[in-house]
């Protein structure tokens, strides 16, 4: 039993080995003077900057503002994408009516709309919400639609023959069948959510993580800039972990998602 515990510890630590080695190397390189700390602060400087920003509360305010923006945009864009994906997956008419337009808009890089969005909304909350919602919409839409399309028609036929009502057919056959694909969309969307928000915040904002990083650049506070980048990495990892948990809970029936 002890061996297995040791093994588990090793398995848990293994993914963190590479980041740890990089951090140590980085600290050493700056301490020895191999890299000027005007361009690249040492990890300890970053920790100190983080501590400082946390103590004044600036970090938490900005983090909170950004998270709220991200989630609001995600809910709006993801909700619309999911609803339209369902509608187009279930109704030929709806698909013929909207899919072509959606595909056209999809090919426009949504960040290229930033100048236009600033003209429309100024640098208020609406601009960020709009951009995040737009970015999140497409992966959720496309994967929901694909998920519904790829539900095994044999199962749908079985459901019909066995007397399922339309609602039952949807909740018991179509939706669970589409779920793995919807989760793929969800993970893509979470990545795009942070990306869009940070870009939007660096260009047009008066609060938030992106704004914090831009301010720091103006004053040559490299450690704060790096701190902000590391926080993005952490947030991305957090979102990914939560999605994985959710996947495992919802897709336990699928051998591909069962925890090892």
């Amino acid at each position: 039993m002890r061996a297995s515990r040791l093994e588990r510890l090793r398995d848990g630590a293994l993914p963190w080995l590479v980041p740890a080695v990089i951090l140590l190397g980085w600290q050493a390189a700056v301490s020895v003077g191999l890299v000027s700390n005007r361009f690249m602060p040492a990890p300890l400087d970053v920790v100190r900057a983080g501590w400082e920003a946390g103590r004044t509360g600036e970090l938490w305010t900005n983090l909170g503002v950004s998270t709220l923006r991200a989630l609001a945009g995600f809910v709006v864009g993801g909700g619309i994408g999911f609803a339209l994906g369902l509608a187009n997956g279930l109704s030929r008419l709806s698909e013929r009516l909207t899919d072509t337009s959606v595909q056209m808009v999809r090919n426009v890089p949504h960040l290229s709309l930033i100048p236009l969005v600033i003209l429309w909304f100024g640098i208020g909350e609406e601009a960020k919400l709009f951009l995040v919602a737009l970015g999140v919409f497409f992966p959720i839409y496309a994967n929901t639609l694909h998920g519904i399309r790829s539900v095994d028609p044999g199962l749908v036929e079985m459901g019909r023959v066995y007397g399922m009502s339309r609602t039952e057919l949807f909740t018991r056959v179509v939706l669970p069948g589409a779920l793995p694909s919807i989760f793929v969309g969800l993970r893509y969307a979470l990545g795009i959510m942070w990306l869009t928000l940070i870009v939007a915040e660096t260009i047009s904002a008066s609060s938030g993580l992106g704004y914090m990083a831009m301010q720091a650049r103006e004053f040559m506070l490299v450690d704060v800039v790096v701190l902000a980048i590391l926080i993005y990495a952490g947030l991305g990892k957090l979102a990914d972990t939560l999605t994985r948990r959710l996947e495992r809970a919802c897709l336990g029936w699928n051998p591909a998602y069962r925890s090892a």
Binding site: D152, G154, L155, E157, M158, G159, V161, Y162, G163, M164, S165, E168, R172, V173, P176, G177, L179, L251, G252, W253, N254, P255
Partner: protein, 293 residues
């Protein structure tokens, strides 16, 4: 159209009797069978749905698959339909089940009690693939067969009973992905039977199983058919399977019934029985188009 009823002969008087009136003391009867006296033949007959098909036609994009087919399936009988692939046998089954709409002709289903009743027992199908919902536990998959009938707990109880009937009680809480192919097909059988159907259509349900599992499944289907008395319609490529299970075998060719044979070998049937083998040979000769030797 050739319609001859051929009996494998000679048969001793004693064994030529109606197979289902035969005493149920066969040593192969399975321990999984629920207790209680076997229902009387009259009771059994009431459960089954009789099928009448008149001048049935079906074509897909102008290609006729079924051409003027007439057929009567008595309630409670076990009929097998064999034929080469593409002869229209699966289409016939799908038409009878209402999965396809006929191009012409009519299909009447009725309980043998008389005219169509409101509370007619349902008709069910077992597909070639199990078609279980991978995201539902085994017992919930069986309960799909009861969709909408009774409370949740009542459905669960009946689903567990049906699982016991196919010998899979211990798998009730598992995901379908953890079962073997034969076990999945048994779950599909339990799902088809849980609603006590009046007509069970079997669309090559054992085609993908290995030989031994297939024989076990055949015995299981036969045993349950004998206790429940539904009308069974089996579509299969496997002539040996048809001969082992059915009272009557229809050979379908080019959308018509080319041969209509009664199998009057008593049950339980022994595999390798010379009468069955002779009958199987006759059907195969017909299918392969070689003259009878």
């Amino acid at each position: 159209m050739l319609r001859d009823a051929v009996r494998p002969e000679p048969l001793p008087e004693a064994v030529a009797a109606d197979p289902r009136t035969e005493p149920r003391s066969d040593p192969r009867s399975d321990p999984h069978r629920p207790g209680g006296p076997a229902p009387s033949p009259a009771e059994l007959g009431r459960r089954g749905i009789a099928v009448t098909v008149r001048d049935l036609r079906k074509s897909f994009d102008g290609n006729a698959v079924i051409e003027g087919l007439n057929l009567f399936l008595p309630a409670g009988g076990f009929t097998a339909v064999v034929g080469r692939s593409g002869c229209g046998k699966s289409t016939l089954l799908r038409l009878i089940l209402g999965l396809e709409t006929p191009t012409g002709g009519r299909i009447d289903l009725e309980g043998s009690a008389g005219s169509a009743r409101r509370s007619e027992p349902p008709k069910r199908i077992m597909f070639q693939e199990p078609r279980l919902l991978p995201w539902a536990r085994v017992v919930d998959n069986v309960a799909v067969g009861l969709s909408g009938h009774g409370s949740r707990s009542a459905r669960r109880t009946r689903a567990l009973e049906a699982l016991a009937e196919v010998g899979l009680s211990d798998k009730a809480g598992q995901w379908p992905a953890t079962l073997s192919g034969g076990q999945r097909q048994r779950v599909a059988l339990a799902r088809a039977l849980v609603s006590r159907p009046g007509l069970l259509a079997l669309d090559e349900p054992l085609g993908a199983l290995d030989a031994l599992t297939r024989i076990e499944m055949q015995d299981l289907i036969e045993r349950i058919w004998r206790t429940q008395g539904f009308t069974a319609l089996l579509v299969t490529h496997d002539v040996a399977e048809a001969v082992a299970l059915a009272d009557r075998i229809l050979v379908v060719e080019a959308g018509r019934i080319a041969l209509d044979l009664q199998v009057e070998v008593p049950r339980p049937r022994r595999r390798g029985d010379p009468d069955l083998a002779r009958l199987e040979g006759r059907i195969l000769d017909h299918l392969l188009g070689t003259p009878q030797g």
